[in-house]
């Protein structure tokens, strides 16, 4: 395309030059996503790297003692924080997966026209509520409700945070899940109906198996969102370094620890560097989750 334009006499050199400039700009911007992904890893790693030489990996990953500001012997064990993140995510998904996928099926298979449009809009809005607002809801609305309903000593806990995360990650699951269901050819539905299947049977026997990969990707993206969520879990988990015994124990997550402690940690201290290493761990976890989701989605396109 560019070659043919050079032969056109009507265009001035200036126009050509500016076109060249803008096209090179487009190329640079096109690569920007790659640059930023590497940039994020590089800068987060760079700030945390000096501590790697002092880091005891076994203690870091498996010790549940997180005492970074000790005046005697600081301990940097993120075991309990990992357990916190995992447990909140698992419970959140246990709530969100059935509801998210159920809602996706409802939107895609049972709704038409206006209802479908408005439901999708509402779900979009649900996705847009800021996480600090969710956190505030958990802190001041749900916490007393949970104490009263479940007769537990403390209302900011694993369950509270998981419930918020479920509500927060449902929208992404609905929209990706709906896309996956939409991708199932109508001929499948027609065949199922022709065989006399009820819609329930059609969903259960035909659509879910056919859209399996897309739904799995939807779940994985929900997981990614839940792992990375910060403000809501900071405010609603209780923020206690604790291996939970029950659904109603307070816990603490990796993300919340960084948010709570980085602001008051002096630049370059051990504690500061360890918080960045936690960032590297988080980055790696979500990278793997997102990569898997992406591969799974690509799987459906090919298969």
């Amino acid at each position: 395309m560019a070659n043919s334009s050079e032969k056109r006499p009507s265009r001035g050199a200036l126009a050509l030059l500016s076109e060249r400039t803008i096209e090179s700009l487009i190329y640079v911007c096109g690569f920007s996503a790659i640059i930023f992904v590497f940039g994020i890893f590089f800068f987060v790693f760079k700030e945390g790297a000096p501590f790697l030489t002092k880091l005891n990996f076994t203690e870091f990953f498996f010790s549940k003692e997180w005492i970074p500001t000790s005046t005697v012997q600081p301990k940097y064990g993120i075991g309990a924080l990992i357990v916190g993140t995992v447990s909140v995510t698992v419970v959140a998904m246990a709530i969100a997966v059935p509801f998210g996928l159920g809602a996706a099926v409802f939107v895609s298979e049972f709704c038409t026209g206006k209802v479908k449009e408005s439901l999708k809009i509402i779900i979009e809005l649900l996705a847009a509520v800021p996480s600090v607002v969710w956190g505030f809801i958990g802190l001041s609305v749900m916490s007393p409700v949970i104490i009263a309903v479940f007769h537990v000593p403390v209302g900011v806990n694993l369950f509270n945070a998981a419930l918020l995360l479920a509500l927060m990650s449902v929208p992404i699951m609905v929209s990706i899940g709906e896309d996956a269901l939409k991708a199932v050819p109508d001929s499948y539905r027609e065949a199922a109906v022709a065989l006399g299947a009820t819609r329930w049977q059609m969903v259960y026997r035909v659509l879910i198996p056919a859209a399996r990969n897309g739904l799995l990707a939807a779940v994985l993206l929900g997981v990614g969102r839940a792992i990375g969520e910060t403000m809501a879990v900071l405010m609603a988990t209780g923020h206690a370094v604790n291996i939970p015994d029950s659904l109603f124990d307070p816990v603490r997550t990796l993300t919340a620890t960084i948010a709570a402690e980085l602001g008051e940690t002096s630049h370059g201290s051990d504690h500061y560097q360890v918080l960045f290493l936690i960032g590297v761990v988080l980055f790696s976890i979500t990278f793997v989750v997102n990569l898997t989701a992406d591969l799974v989605v690509k799987g459906i396109r090919k298969g």
Partner: protein, 298 residues
Amino acid sequence: MFTETPFIRRKRRAERIAQCFFAGMAAAMVIPLFLIIGYIVIKGAPAISWEFLTENPRSGGAKGGIWAAIVGTFYIVFFSLAVSAPIGVLAAVYLSEYARENWFTRMVHLAVVNLAGVPSIVHGLFGVGAFVYFANFNDGKKSIIAAALTLAVMTLPVIITSTKEALAAVPRQFREACWNVGATRWQTIWRIVLPNSISGILTGVILQVSRTAGETAPVMLTGVATYKLLESTGLFLYHPIRDQCMALSMHLYYIATQANNVPAATPYAIATVLVGVVLVVNAAAIVFRIYLRSRKKW
């Protein structure tokens, strides 16, 4: 008409049950949203007044309004979108108009997907490392520009994705017709593709306003102060490079967890304002989308 056999009746009932079941699933998510937002608005709305919106906070946030936070949020949103929108749109133009199907394009796609999945707090750490300390805009202190750039990187993949969808919606024939009359690739993009997809592109960008306005964790590490007094109620009080600013999202966190002697309604009022911003922005985007879709001629 068929006569209803028991089999058909049973089938009908199963059908209805299935419908109710899935409707229940959807309702279980939508109804809490309404209840919660309703609760917040009911508790917060009485505290919202013109003075609340246009006065600076006083006495550590216990009295006065939230003007400084509104201005700060505006600054952050404006600067971050001013950076991310052009880059994101051009990147999407690259991906949909220039890129060939090869491993490199595949890498870019992967990068976009992964960038979108990076936790916001990690973006915050990146902002601290890259913009606060490395770029060092403000002597190793937080600054508005650092926060805005951090959010720009964060919103970039979403803008790329939404723009790409908008560009893909422009029929290929439009481009071919343009190429056939001898236009260059860029002329085609500038004269045909962008004007025809501008609605979709803008909708995607507008939706990011609400996301950037609500983001807390990354900006609190890179550019937002818990309490930053303003001299007066002017608009241009913050210096984007030298200053930190307040922000609505952070102000809600601060008022809810730290500020003393705050009237009980104040955090609800701030939450209402935040949710209001989100609703207004999203509603605007939706209206915009519907309006422009109605003008579509293909």
